[in-house]
Amino acid sequence: MILIDSRIAAASSDDLFEGGNTVAGWWKKLLRIDLSRKTITVEEVKDVVLKEYLGGSGFGAMWLYENTRPGVEPLSPDNAVVLAVGPLTGSRVYGTSRASMITRSPLTMTLFDSTCGGVFPTYFKRCGLDALIIQGASSKPVYIYLNEGCGEVLPAGDLWGLKTKEAVLELRKRHGFNCSAVAIGPAGENLVRMASIADDNGHAFGRGGVGAVLGSKKVKAIVASGTKTVEEAKPEKVDEMLENMKVRITWNPYLWGALRNLGTSALLTVINDWGLLPVMNFSEGFSESAEKLAGEELTKFVVGRRGCYNCPIACKRVTKIGETKGDGPEYESIVNLGSMLGISDLGDVIELNHLCNDLGLDTISMGGTLACLIELATLNKVNIDLMWGDSEKVKALIIETAYRRGIGNDVAEGSLRLARKYGMIEASVSVKGLEVPAYDPRGAFGMALSYATSYRGACHLRSWTISFEVIGTPNLVDRFSVLEKPALVKYTQDLAAVYDSLLVCKHFAVEFNEEPLSSLLSAVTGLDFSKEELLAAGERIWTIARLFNIREGFTGRDDVLPPKLQAPLTKGPIAGRVPPIQDMIKEYYSVRDWDSQGIPSRKLLDRLNLRCRL
């Protein structure tokens, strides 16, 4: 059954997919699918929007702010999902095969953008689209098929119930292997609030429950198989910049040394040395047995290495445990499914990670919520037999969560709702409902501020000050200093917004700041972008995300650290340290030109050309 008559899509393609007024880097086209109304339309994206919001997360934030009604329920048909690529996606620039999925999150209730690498984003861009918007909901399972000149909604009854990888492989069989797909697993189908959307190679739109939003719309998967060439306005300039990029990538010890040699797991030893390793729901910051989870140990399980399309670093690891092969785990997953749960057997962690990938679950929130559950259980707040380090029970709980069975139904709600239900809210180590990732902010005060102020909740990807506070690339900043942190966090947040809108892998941010990015963008699009304009776009994107959250009732009171992270640890390298979060937030608001309640000033909105969008 084809819900939407394919002739409608075909007609659209003739009219709008082809030709038109494109700019190198952007097609200036979006495809809007309304599953309730059963319509597909192709719309033009205005130049000014692309210049001001760039694409990806920026475009999605703007679109959702303007096109969803206040109070929209994340899992209702009224919510929309924007899938967007950036102007560099599909070009020859390294690390740009990325896409962003933006929606209102069922986990945090905030605006949420989740990005994903792999090859899917390039196939999507080659369809001749900058964005896909999915609205409404289907009554039956469907998937979306895209290629150049065609957007179809096709039945997915036979795919419903399949795990992510199974569904993707089936779809690639169906549509030929010259395509890529991302799919939800059972967790997304069952509206688990931490459900992800994944491809068949371990790349996922991981956080914030974007998989549940697709599940609520009964969309099992999105397949892209475009072949259009992405034009570059100044190919010689791009050549020159690629040479320069190559040199800088191979010169950077983090990118070419650590990431290439060991993947993100290279971080674990140093993070533990410095006392930042979350152990048993943040009750400790250092583990004697961390070596067992370290990058060197992971190499014993590694059977292959791969990367996103057109990335020379290839930081991903293929691992094998028993007879099962899978992707990852990344550093975050090792910590959240390992030390956070008191598990120090890396083989077990790998198995749990593969399981989460297959079921379509975000490993960070899954681990964080299970850590919360174990703490509740050990304090007899919840009546289940569960101890730290019991990987067999954890495995069973992950499955129960994906299918919302038994206590898994509570876990599926995320740690904040779980802890609230069992009367001990402080057991949830989260900000705005998003579980804190794998860096204890008591040992890196920039991370404390970055967790507290991120629009999507505790997130390491919206301002990874670890690169300054621990790694020392591009600069080393004292991790316990307070003075420089508000400005540093604002700068890194704005830059992260640029990265997520141009859609460049954020690992590259340790070497490439706004300056090379603006040159790359100018070379690809042929339009002049100064570094100041680019950072202003980042600030605009950050601010519109803030406006969205304010519209949904968030205030400065939500910019907090969870109670546990405001109390000092009693042992380990960071014993006694507590970030002065209130002081930093006050200064941060002032640096951002927000008032004492965290509301952007009128002057700022004028400067960013945002008043017109209010």
């Binding site: 010890p253 650590a258 030893t269 040395d273 790694i471 020392g472 390298p573």
Partner: protein, 202 residues
Amino acid sequence: MIAEGIDKEVYEVLRGYASRIARRGYVTAHGGNLSIRSGNNMWITRHACSLEDLRVEDVVKVPVDRPSSRDVIASTETPVHREVYKRTSNLVVMHAHPPYTVAVSYFVDRLVPPDSEGYHVLRRVPIIEGRPGSAALASRVAEALRDSWAVVVRGHGVFASSKFIDHTYQVLCMVEHSAEIFYLKKVYEGSLKVKPVVPQEF
């Protein structure tokens, strides 16, 4: 924390020499690095630290025979130190950017110290080329240090290495001193317009 487990003496020694190198003006704010080998490991200064004021967190222990996850914060020149320890029996490596040596490296292919002390200790200092942090440079530096106490990387700086930390420091200072004399000799030669008198005995 990284300070834990570090032999206090190793840290103190590194801190002392790091500060002496910085005080001599051989490095800028965050330049330079030094290491001490201990068995199959080396203690090396971290990436982006300031030799002027080395903190315990600025010293990291990494294996000599292979890259490790602690390389993520170790000096960008760690591959060079590693290669030197693999190919020589030296136990210390120091790297700095002393200005006269860097300047002289643009004009000659090896530095033959014009001063007697430098000449007797160093004989000649090879000058090589290579991109900082690259495997090729690591290999060239290590090869040169098999026959020499020091090697200059053109336009970049000096690597000095030996079995003893004080000797290595002495070599480093000597290279810069010789380069300074070389430069001054040339300046006087040019401005006085006379041929220098070459000592009969060195």
